[in-house]
């Protein structure tokens, strides 16, 4: 069993790493949410070309693994990185944002498409443009059920930010690897690392579940209609089943 001095050293290292993880996750999450929302709007554009390009973009960036993007960019830029003023942190942010915003856009697009076509028709019959319908009719309805999905995106960003350690970004996982290097206790250190992530992520998981139930209660029927488009993997099994139940009643 490692002594208290060793633990102290680890905790010092990992607190430093924690800041890196928080910075990386926060910046990537904000960029992901903004860029993902823009992508989703483009993906439901009335112009076929814009829609096609946006959907193609979403499919391609969902297909490329985050780590592949990080490593290809990092080792691809390699010698030129310094000349362009690019560092590993930026590459990690770019890779996380490109990947997660594509996921988010797909979820948002599903929610937007869940709004019945009759509402679009009704809006256009009273002379509303596409943009206006989106702003005034569609977006206000899809925002409440999408809030838990956004929290889940943030959870995904934090989990995937651990991969940045593989391109030398100073964050939690890299700190843990350093801690293993200076004192050879891999099991202790990596379990401790898992605890750090759990402390960050568990509250978010429970928060997202609570939000899901809350939006369900508060905006009940609306979200039952719209959640049809949400990825099943992002909602708790039981709630998913309840949603399906709701849907059945609606049909």
């Amino acid at each position: 069993m490692p002594g208290p001095q060793v633990w102290h050293q680890w905790l010092e290292l990992m607190t430093k790493g924690l800041w890196g993880t928080l910075q990386l996750s926060l910046i990537s999450s904000i960029l992901t949410i903004l860029f993902g929302a823009v992508l989703a709007v483009l993906a439901v554009s009335p112009y076929k070309i814009v829609r096609g390009i946006a959907r193609g973009w979403i499919e391609v960036f969902r297909a490329i693994p985050v780590l592949a993007m990080m490593i290809l960019l990092y080792f691809g830029f390699g010698p030129f990185a310094a000349a362009f003023g690019i560092n590993a942190f930026m590459i990690a942010v770019v890779a996380l944002t490109l990947s997660m915003s594509a996921y988010q856009a797909e979820i948002f697009r599903g929610a937007i498409r869940g709004v019945p076509a009759s509402q679009w028709a009704a809006a256009s019959s009273i002379g509303m443009s596409h943009g206006m319908t989106l702003r005034r009719i569609v977006v206000p309805q899809v925002i409440p059920p999408l809030i838990p999905a956004v929290v889940n995106i943030v959870i995904g960003v934090i989990k995937l930010s651990s991969l940045a350690s593989l391109i030398t970004v100073g964050e939690l996982s890299l700190s843990a690897t350093q801690a293993v290097a200076i004192s050879f206790y891999p099991l202790h250190v990596y379990v401790l690392l898992g605890c750090f992530y759990a402390v960050l992520i568990l509250p978010l998981i429970y928060f997202s579940r609570w939000l899901e139930r809350w939006t369900q209660r508060r905006f009940g029927l609306v979200s039952a209609v719209i959640d049809r488009g949400l990825l099943s993997q992002y909602s708790d099994a039981k709630e998913e089943a309840e949603l399906l139940e709701e849907e059945r009643k609606l049909v």
Partner: protein, 212 residues
């Protein structure tokens, strides 16, 4: 450009993804099955374990399996370690898919089956299972796609999968752009058809449910 190393690398990626998928399905089935028994303590405990696994980055699980467990004397090679770690990680999600699929069969149907004199085993086998299985297939396909992408993590413990070889070849040949493009094309070609097939199946299964 020499494609040979990429072929064997793709083989390693597929090996990790398929292996982890099998492990995930087994782990998911066992967890979902145990939770279906509806023993409160078991259910709550497993529920927490699933949440805990979902809160742990895949890389951390991989490090625990590869480096951590080696410390107590059980040594795995890179590929089996990745199969186990990714399998457990995805298994937590898969158990939820199975539960969701089982829950799509309404209590009303179970009640109807028991009123016809069917035992709970019979109800499960003839009423629940046939309806739940189609529901769990699309998410299982999506899980496989996720694992194909997560298989890149195996490079972190030295398994010669696609990204590992890409990095090596980049350093060796300097054909940075071609290699990057090749890797992107490989992932796009494998995953997009699977994703599209899964969403197609999902639409069909759901419309069947809506029709029922």
């Amino acid at each position: 450009m020499n494609f040979a190393p990429f072929f064997s690398a793709l083989g390693v990626t597929l090996q990790v993804a398929i292996g982890a998928w099998i492990v995930a399905t087994i782990v998911g089935l066992v967890i979902a099955g145990l939770r279906e028994l509806e023993i409160p303590i078991v259910d709550r405990l497993l529920g927490f374990v699933v949440t805990l696994v979902r809160a742990t980055p895949e890389l951390v699980l991989l490090y625990i399996v590869f480096f951590g467990i080696a410390y107590v004397g059980i040594r795995f090679d890179a590929i089996p370690a990745a199969v186990i770690a990714l399998g457990i990680s995805e298994g937590a999600f898969v158990s939820e898919y199975f539960r969701a699929a089982i829950l799509t069969v309404t209590p009303r149907q179970r009640a109807a089956a028991s009123s016809l004199g069917m035992s709970s085993m019979q109800t499960f086998r003839f009423i629940v299972l046939p309806q739940a299985v189609p529901f769990s297939i699309p998410p299982l396909v999506n899980a496989f796609v996720g694992l194909l992408k997560m298989a890149t993590l195996a490079s972190a413990v030295g398994a010669p999968e696609l990204i590992y070889i890409a990095r090596e070849q980049m350093a060796l040949t300097g054909d940075i752009l071609q290699i990057a493009l090749l890797i992107i094309i490989i992932y796009v070609i494998i995953t997009i058809p699977l994703t599209l097939a899964a969403s197609e199946m999902e639409t069909r299964v759901r419309s069947r449910l809506a029709a029922a």
